[in-house]
Symmetry: C2
Subunit: 361 residues, 2 copies
DNA sequence: GTGAAAGCGCTAACAT
DNA sequence: ATGTTAGCGCTTTCAC
């Protein structure tokens, strides 16, 4: 395919033009073309550029990778791309990876994540991992020996050498529970996550911190879940079945929040009149949610992804501190219709509701 | 790194073992190892297997690709991974790609999709494209000269050579509008999509077909949108502002459906008492949606993705018909609380509603 | 700054 | 069925 006549004609009959073709057409050596492509100064840059353009030359990534041991690609690891949080994160990563010219591998699956990481890691220069981490996955990440950034999930109580981009989960939870306390709630239910998951622990700790700061007789009723949709539903049922059910519920992630709302819906509990609600993680369209638009602790998901990708880019190009970096982003508490005063403090609120109703009619 | 002492020790000091290392340890030629790895029959298979295991040998994909001109990877092209439909589809593709051992490139972005396809195509053996298609994207797909399957979106009125996995959009829309007609609706609003998008056209045609079949005085009020969220909201407003507003609305995709519901919510229109609603595409949690759980025409998104990937696998391994295949899946109409009889036929329904209310209280 | 030459790790002819 | 050989397209010494 490469050869004399190809250069002369300007169009290798079939298949891609090679660097040798470009070199021949530009009347330089392949080495010069290679240098030109790497952005180095070259005497006949214009002629080379013209040849590249004329032949529609595209470097062969396999050959380049074989020689230089790079791939020019990045992997993003998530357990379930169907989770809106993961999808937004990936969207954020994708947008900056695209700008940087890095194709993105999507590696995922609920199980065997360690094997998946092992399979993908030779194909990439760097990894973004936004999945709950167990020992096996962590080991796979280490085996990769590639720049890696952990997004949102950190290994449970363990030293590690990776960069990290997280949100301040504890502060977010504290703000949420604090807001409920300020409204007068004294018994607050928490739909928590697994103890082994970093974000679950932090959010629970944040909730507890808010209670401690209040220093009044505020009690927290905690139900653990697996952070699933169904788990949230069951846990909420348990909370509401207690002797003295809470007047407010804080659900610690997006899936359990759905479960909580479904349970509330099933039981036709007036929100926020009888029960207030705050969830962690944004809803796509809160204004369409029953029984009331849910208050949420929102994270900047796309920004988080974008930041992770930029961090990685820095590592790959050798810039950045040698030490692992840890970036903590802030959450935002958005109070919506699902949050109000507890029943025993609602006199004035009920009046306000009536007044609003009048205005509507 | 490869060489005599490596084989003897069994552990190349650093970096990966090469095929030569394996061959030396197993006392066969590299070619035999290569054949073994490709699943061909080899005399000393056990010894080779042992050597592979002992050295933790992982083939170098770059070298393999350079030689064999394959990549072992697949690309999935979507415009916006944040769209739940796209995310589900990708999940379906991912699950079978994982089983087949194909890493997945996620290629996407709203703009410049043709360039993105050009960039990704040399890195993959096959492409799944689930994005609206314009001339530029289509050309990029053709330039790739790789097995390609189009999911959901087909080029607007144009011959093409690609495999296709779609749902029967027209039948789905016809079922939805037919159900509204059967309930007694005579004026039905349609929030349609852009004329250039195949699914938009088909869904509108399906709606029209239902009206024709009815042969009574049923009229369709059509508002075009760009299939966006905001577009759906505006279009719904226009429908409701008409002289004789429709008693039911059919929204032709998931984004416009959200917009429609928001508009309905804004105007506090009772659903389904005064206005019925059906959308195209599933909602993640329909029971939590206000003002009423939306009826929807559901597609088997994950199955669609899985099927596309299997089709591709067949093409890559040379199996399958030479001619392009076209697979059409069925949709499912799910009627929920957002759909009922029109106001002028609600006498009995209102009674039913009252009765239900009594039972609750 | 440039060109010549070597070689990354693998697969595919080819001859045996 | 096996080994030998060549070379995929590129980057990177090295000498100039």
């Amino acid at each position: 395919m490469s050869g004399d006549e190809a250069g002369a004609i300007g169009h290798p009959a079939e298949g891609e033009a090679t660097m040798a073709d470009v070199a021949a057409l530009a009347e330089v050596s392949p080495a010069t073309v290679s240098r030109y492509l790497q952005g180095k100064r070259v005497r006949d840059a214009e002629r080379v550029a013209a040849a590249v353009e004329q032949l529609q030359y595209r470097p062969n990534q396999a050959a380049r990778g074989l020689r230089s041991r790079t791939t020019g690609a990045v992997a993003v690891v998530v357990r379930d791309i169907g989770n809106p949080y993961a999808a937004s994160l990936v969207a954020g990563i994708q947008s900056v990876a695209g700008d940087l010219g890095f194709p993105l591998y999507l590696a995922g699956g609920v199980d065997h994540l360690d094997e998946i990481v092992d399979n993908i890691s030779p194909r990439v220069d760097a990894i973004v991992c936004a999945a709950t981490l167990d020992r096996a996955v962590l080991d796979a990440l280490r085996r990769a020996r590639k720049p890696t950034v952990l997004v949102e999930f950190e290994p449970a109580g363990e030293e590690h050498e990776f960069d990290v981009v997280v949100v301040d989960n504890a502060a977010g939870a504290e703000a949420a529970v604090g807001a409920l306390i300020d409204l007068g709630h004294r018994s607050i239910g928490v739909v928590a996550g697994p103890d082994g998951v970093s974000v679950a622990r932090e959010r629970l700790e944040g909730a507890e911190a808010a209670v401690e700061k209040a220093r009044e007789g505020v009690t927290l009723a905690v139900e653990r879940t697996d952070f699933s949709f169904a788990g949230g539903r069951v846990a909420t049922g348990r909370l509401l079945d207690r002797e003295e059910p809470p007047t407010a519920i804080f659900a610690c992630n997006n899936l359990t929040a759905i479960g909580t709302l479904q349970c509330i819906q099933d039981r036709r509990i007036p929100v926020p009149e009888q029960l207030s609600f705050i969830g962690f993680d944004p809803f796509a369209h809160p204004d369409l949610v029953c029984p009331a638009p849910p208050s949420t602790v929102d994270r900047p998901e796309e920004a988080q992804g974008a930041l992770a990708m930029r961090l990685l880019e820095g590592r790959m190009s050798g810039r950045g501190a040698a030490r692992p970096r840890r970036i903590v982003l802030e959450t935002t508490l958005v109070l919506r219709g699902s949050t109000g005063a507890p029943p025993d403090r609602r006199a004035d609120h009920a009046g306000a509701a009536r007044r609003r109703h009048h205005l509507d009619g």
